[in-house]
């Protein structure tokens, strides 16, 4: 533990918002302590120790945000991506990271051998990698005037997809529904909104099915049987993404013909 003097056994409970998290950072400085845990509401109260409610206050959040801003783009990006992680313990990792960064200034971004830094960067990388996979693998369907898709990410990556798809499709309306977290990103008339949603099931019409069939036919035509190596395919496109890729659903449906190297 890097701040032995500060370690306390209280755990912070906050509302799960980013501003709420910044208030936890504030609290940690105000009390000169490092909590044993930081718990967003969904994580349940399993701590053996006392817990403290941390209220979300705009003024405190703004002070921490201003400090974070001064640390530079790299550190900010790490905190934003890391915060989108859906992993227990992510808040504490980010708090330790931020304390180390505030102590060392912008140079902290390069102190890669420090455990607090390495851990947070690895956390952010897991989230960024997943968002990149969805930039590659999500498949839109045309539904009426709009493009729509359902994805099943581990982390709450929708905000990381926003910039890319708005830039790629500047004139289109589209919706990306994160079924894991019940959250949708809707872009309509050039503005983006996030919506809580339980259910969204695009059902392709005949024309859309025709587009998918064309794509699947193209995809199949590309395989070179002498080079067949599905292990290699799986390392690049891990199986957990397949449910969101129409051509992989098709590959799975056609029961493998004998002779495949798996």
């Amino acid at each position: 533990m890097s701040y032995p003097a500060y370690v306390s056994n209280v755990s912070y409970c906050y509302d799960g918002s980013f501003r709420g998290f910044l208030c936890c950072v504030f609290e940690s400085y105000a009390h000169r302590e490092l909590p044993a845990a930081i718990q967003p509401p969904q994580e349940g109260q399993t701590s053996l120790f006392g817990s403290r409610e941390i209220a979300t206050r705009a003024d405190r959040a703004a002070r921490v945000a201003a400090g974070l801003h001064r640390l530079g783009a790299e550190i900010q990006a790490c905190v934003t991506s890391g915060f989108l992680a859906d992993e227990p313990g992510k808040d504490l990792i980010l708090l330790r990271f931020l304390r180390c960064c505030f102590e060392n200034g912008t140079a902290a971004a390069q102190m890669l051998a420090r455990p607090e830094i390495a851990e947070a960067l690895a956390l952010a990388r897991r989230v960024d990698n997943e968002s990149h996979k969805y930039i590659e693998f999500l498949r839109f369907e045309q539904r009426g005037e709009m493009l729509g898709t359902v994805i099943h990410p581990r982390h709450r990556i929708l905000p990381l997809l926003r910039g890319h798809f708005c830039s790629r499709l500047p004139e289109e309306d589209f919706m990306i529904f994160d079924a894991t977290h019940g959250l949708a990103m809707l872009r309509k008339d050039k503005t983006v909104r996030y919506l809580q949603m339980q259910h969204y099931a695009p059902a392709p019409d005949a024309e859309e099915e025709n587009w998918q069939a064309l794509w699947i036919r193209f995809f199949r035509a590309l395989a070179i049987k002498e080079r067949r190596n599905e292990r290699c395919q799986r390392t690049h496109a891990p199986k957990r993404y397949w449910q969101d890729m129409c051509e992989m659903q098709a590959q799975k449906r056609t029961t493998q013909p004998p002779g495949d190297v798996l």
Binding site: N104, A107, Q110, M111, L112, A113, R114, P115, A118, A122, I135, E136, F137, L138, R139, F140, E141, Q142, L147, T149, H164, C166, S167, R168, L169, P170, E171, E172, W211, A213, L214, W215, R217, F218, F219, R220, A221, L222, A223, I224, E226, R227, R228, N229, E230, R231, C232, Q233, T235, H236, A237, E247, M248, Q251, Q256, P258, G259, D260, V261, L262
Partner: protein, 455 residues
């Protein structure tokens, strides 16, 4: 013929062209248009052979007037023929692009009639995409050898990347196997593209709105294993192409016998996939690690070791270069350590500014030490000082050469087979009836023994 059938035929005809990347140009979207480009490129799918699908890669037509002997589309080959109408192909590209299936179009074509007539139709397709659909996504177009330079210029103003395939690694091979194409017909457009692309970059630096000519540069491809050239010959050729024509990429394609011809390897010959892999690794060393072809291969040792990656081979042949001290060695020196790539080297250089690095720190930073540990010291201490030579050999050898997969014979009957990119020796043993896993294990043992003796 319906569109789906055409698409299948023309994708099938194009698939032996291995280049499929959308890299080299960063172009954010713009209101009123469709699409954007990201500099590192984006893959959208992976085929069952593990290759990336980034672009809609098709031929405009596969009806060819030429007769290159290694090609499935040659005039004298019996196979289904089809052609896209430029407008139909543009519409297909847009439909796929909007659905996030692809990053753009890779358009190539057989020579239908004359090179000029073929190029005109390709240009028309790109014009529809760029001007009518206002498409800002990626376009890679293949210039047809022998076409008018003015047409190459028009193509380059519409495409992001141009390529001219050098096809075979030497003029003699070219004359023998592709009699309709001369070396000059291939190199002329390459030179033109290099010149115009450089000129356009200069103009762009001065006037922001100057027309961009192939902003993602040019690439080429050659077929490996159809002809007798050595790895050294091939790598030196690539090196000179990078220098002379400022190529962005050279692609290597393991020759896959698709036609029976006495000038070519027999149809039963396996494509040399491991060799192709080694060439890509070495190519990488040329472009990102400041190696030269001469350092990697010599007249006495003109081919790569199937069991070691080229950097490892080089390190073993140059022991005086090691060990490298991670706390002080400059970045180019770190880059020469087996197992340390550009990312790790950068991380090491950054991290050591604030503290000394030992093994736990390197591990924490995500530096992979499996091979690197035998070539480095941390503050003077060698992490794997007492390792037995045999253990070192086992750690250095490339597991890819011994890959074994499973073949499904029927619903519940499986058997082991060597992966297509395992070492030729493993495949030969397996073909002679040795069980695949035993064949791989035996080859591995022999390779380790041989390497231990050499160290």
């Amino acid at each position: 013929m319906d569109l789906a059938e055409k698409l299948e035929i023309l994708a099938d005809s194009a698939k032996y062209d291995v280049a499929c990347t959308s890299s080299g140009v960063e172009r954010p979207g713009r209101a009123g248009q469709l699409g954007s480009c990201r500099a590192p490129g984006i893959c959208h799918a992976f085929t069952p052979d593990g290759r990336c699908v980034s672009l809609l890669k098709v031929l405009l037509t596969n009806c060819c007037s030429y007769d290159c002997s290694y090609c499935v589309n040659r005039r004298t080959q019996q196979r289904p023929r089809a052609s896209f109408d430029p407008r139909e192909l543009a519409e297909l590209t847009i439909g796929f692009y909007r659905r996030n299936y692809i990053e753009g179009l890779f358009l190539s074509s057989a020579v239908a009639g004359s090179p000029d007539a073929t190029m005109e139709r390709m240009i028309e397709t790109l014009r529809i995409l760029r001007q009518e659909y206002r498409f800002r996504g990626y376009i890679h177009a293949k210039a047809i050898p022998g076409a008018d330079p003015l047409l190459v210029e028009r193509l380059g103003l519409l495409a992001d990347r141009l390529s001219v395939n050098i096809e075979l690694p030497s003029e003699a091979s070219l004359n023998r196997l592709a009699p309709d194409k001369g070396k000059a017909a291939i190199l002329r457009p390459m030179g033109q593209i290099a010149r115009q692309s450089a000129a356009s970059r200069r103009d762009l630096a001065v006037y922001r709105h100057a027309p961009a000519f192939a902003p993602a540069g040019q690439s080429t491809q050659m077929i490996i294993g159809a002809t007798p050239e050595t790895d050294r010959h091939i790598l030196r050729l690539s090196e000179s192409l990078y220098k002379k024509y400022a190529l962005k990429r050279v692609f290597y394609s393991a020759y896959l016998p698709v036609v029976a011809d006495e000038r070519l390897p027999a149809l039963s010959v396996q494509p040399p996939l491991l060799r192709e892999h080694r060439l890509y690794q070495a190519d990488w060393l040329l472009r990102y690690y400041h190696f030269s072809a001469e350092e990697l291969l010599s007249p006495e040792q003109p081919n790569f070791d199937p069991y070691l990656d080229p950097k490892c081979s080089w390190a073993l042949a140059n022991p005086e270069y090691f060990p490298v001290e991670v706390n002080t060695a400059p970045r180019p020196v770190l880059l020469r350590v087996p197992g340390i790539g550009p990312k790790s080297a950068l991380r090491i250089v950054q991290a050591r500014r604030s503290q000394r690095l030992g093994m736990p720190e390197l591990k924490r930073m995500g530096v992979v030490l499996k091979r690197a540990q035998y070539f480095i010291t941390c503050s003077g201490r060698a992490p794997a000082l007492r390792a037995a030579r045999q253990e070192v050999a086992a750690a250095l050898i490339d597991p890819k050469a011994f890959g074994v997969g499973v073949r499904q014979l029927s619903l519940d009957d499986f058997c082991a087979v060597p992966l297509p990119d395992s070492a030729p020796r493993v495949q030969a043993l397996a073909a002679a009836g040795v069980e695949a896993r035993r064949a791989a294990e035996q080859t591995r043992r022999e390779a380790i023994e041989c390497l231990t003796r050499r160290m």
